[in-house]
Symmetry: C2
Subunit: 342 residues, 2 copies
């Protein structure tokens, strides 16, 4: 039992290795490797014998060992905020499709919008030697990624830019989209327009706020402090913000909501009220058509696809300088944004 003493816990539940297959088929180790990898130079008869041994033993190649020799894992990592968010599901799915087309697997992780957790996750993925990384950043300093990128981990940032480093980036036109949405409300006669957005440390939140200010400025409207609220997307926070703007002697007559989670809460608040209030939301939402919600739509799947394509282009080849892609948004008028001021 010397063997057993050295390996008290059998690895992988004692899986057969190529060596075992070789012994059983009565061939050399390398011949098994050739068969498993469909390399040429094996007679049909030998191949058959090896195949039989593989099936009899239930052999499956250990990719960990393979990776160790080959250097590429054929896997990429995707770090986003929350897979349960309806915006990220389609994005992740699009990344997966591109990865699949390139023969790669996708390792997913959620940062929960926590910079530390993002870093922890990213570094764990690097330790697994993912070939590339797609990151929807929660952090605003990504210098921790520099050694990894130098070591060859292709990295693309999506939805928000990288902090303190140069890297490929795929963004939506948050500024332009918000400006268009707010201008739409202004065009329908509103002047007292509220903005409820995500936390100010999130790039898209401030960009959208900037778009709001731009549209207001272009219309010559002075924005009052009480019309703007940035913070967590927690329903209670959003509800309180909306109700504050809708109360008092001079309530807002329209709201612009900064993302899908804010929008759903705002819609619920407005549903409870009698006085009609106009609303345009950033991000489309399922069934928004039936509820008549006017939105600035961004294509999450396109963002994911674009990012993944950039990633594989970089993996496959040349070292062009970091590119920055900005995807357009689209205003979809469905009624809520066309309500006139009370």
């Amino acid at each position: 039992m010397a063997e057993t003493a050295r390996h008290p816990e059998p690895r992988y539940g004692n899986r057969p290795t190529m060596k075992d297959v070789a012994a059983r088929a009565g061939v050399g180790l390398k011949t098994v490797s050739r068969v498993v990898n469909s390399e040429p130079g094996v007679t049909p008869d030998t191949e058959r014998r090896v195949q039989e041994a593989i099936e009899a033993l239930g052999f499956r190649r250990n990719d960990s060992a393979r990776v160790l020799r080959k250097g590429r894992t054929a896997s990429i990592g995707l770090v986003l905020e929350d897979l349960a968010d309806p915006f990220y599901g389609p994005l992740s799915r699009a990344v997966e499709e591109v990865a699949r087309a390139h023969g790669a697997l996708l390792i997913n992780g959620s940062s929960a919008e926590d910079p530390e957790r993002e870093q922890e996750l990213v570094l764990a993925l690097c330790a697994r030697r993912v070939d590339g990384l797609i990151v929807i950043p929660a952090a605003d300093d990504h210098r921790y990624l520099e050694p990894e990128m130098r070591a060859g981990v292709a990295t693309v940032f999506v939805d928000r830019p990288a902090g303190q480093i140069q890297a490929d980036t795929v963004l939506s036109d948050s500024f332009g989209g918000a400006r268009e949405g707010v201008a739409h409300l202004i065009a329908h006669g509103h002047r007292r327009i509220g903005f409820i957005g995500d936390q100010p440390r999130i790039h898209t939140a401030t960009e959208r706020l900037r778009g709001y200010h731009a549209a207001m400025a272009e219309a010559g409207i002075a924005v009052e402090d009480s019309w703007v609220s940035l913070g967590s997307t927690d329903p209670d926070r959003v509800r309180a913000a909306a109700e504050a703007m809708l109360s008092g002697p001079e309530p807002v007559t329209a709201l612009f909501s900064g993302n899908n989670r804010v929008t759903v809460t705002v819609v619920r608040v407005l549903a409870d009220r009698e006085r009609p209030v106009a609303l345009v939301g950033f991000d489309d939402i399922e069934l928004a058509d039936l509820l008549g919600i006017t939105v600035i739509s961004q294509d999450a799947a396109a963002a994911g696809r674009t990012a993944a394509e950039h990633l594989f282009r970089r993996l496959d080849g040349a070292g062009h300088p970091p590119a920055r892609v900005e995807l357009p948004t689209r205003l979809i008028a469905r009624g809520s944004g066309e309500i006139p001021p009370a």
Copy 2:
């Protein structure tokens, strides 16, 4: 250049190894290993020197090599149908949280409801030696998994049962939920009730249909063939099915929809019609509260959490026999299910 000739393509972009760190710090390899893994038996001074070398070199432990020795990858695989489906996002997220609590990463893959693709994905995950597997099956024969499970890959099936093998399974009470939903419609006076569900090869689809038939039988209602339609969840197909049931001399007065995707299309069809038709849908939907859609709700996050907990329990320990868990559903009345017959 002999070295270069042997390694024409530098692995991992030439990352430093423990050996490099050891050389730079002037210590032995094992000492570096000790520091990296926070093992005891290193003087503070030595540790500092090693840490410095690690940072100077940008060293990151190669987990592929580690896995090869240790036998566990600290990763699990999740194979589902489509990450972009709002039902699976929360499920995946819940699995990830449990995995994270156990220090494991999650590798995600979508089968696109294709049995071959499911198998391909599952076996690729096994080749990477994931410690465990959570599968929402598209296939109905999982004997291909037997060698893997024997070799120690813990496997849990969710949402639908495994085919032809014994395995841990976490299901929702599709039969009971559908029966309750249909009984609810009957209690509100309906007798001509249509059922539109997913493809009949999907277990949940037939279970829900069975629930429909049970409720109808219990009420002594003879079901007409034209009231039942199973098939793809493609909007065109669902729309056609719904419109057929709502037309003719004796249209149905109520519909039961078999899952979230069917429901959204049915809701759109009903929105275009004048005559009110009652509706109960299986699965909850975002904003269903505002649209007043009565649903049979199942907790996707709970399903994911339960499955992952089973998985890790099995990984951590004893070999109890395969368990089958059935999670309850909950009827949420919001209006659409309480509309009386026309």
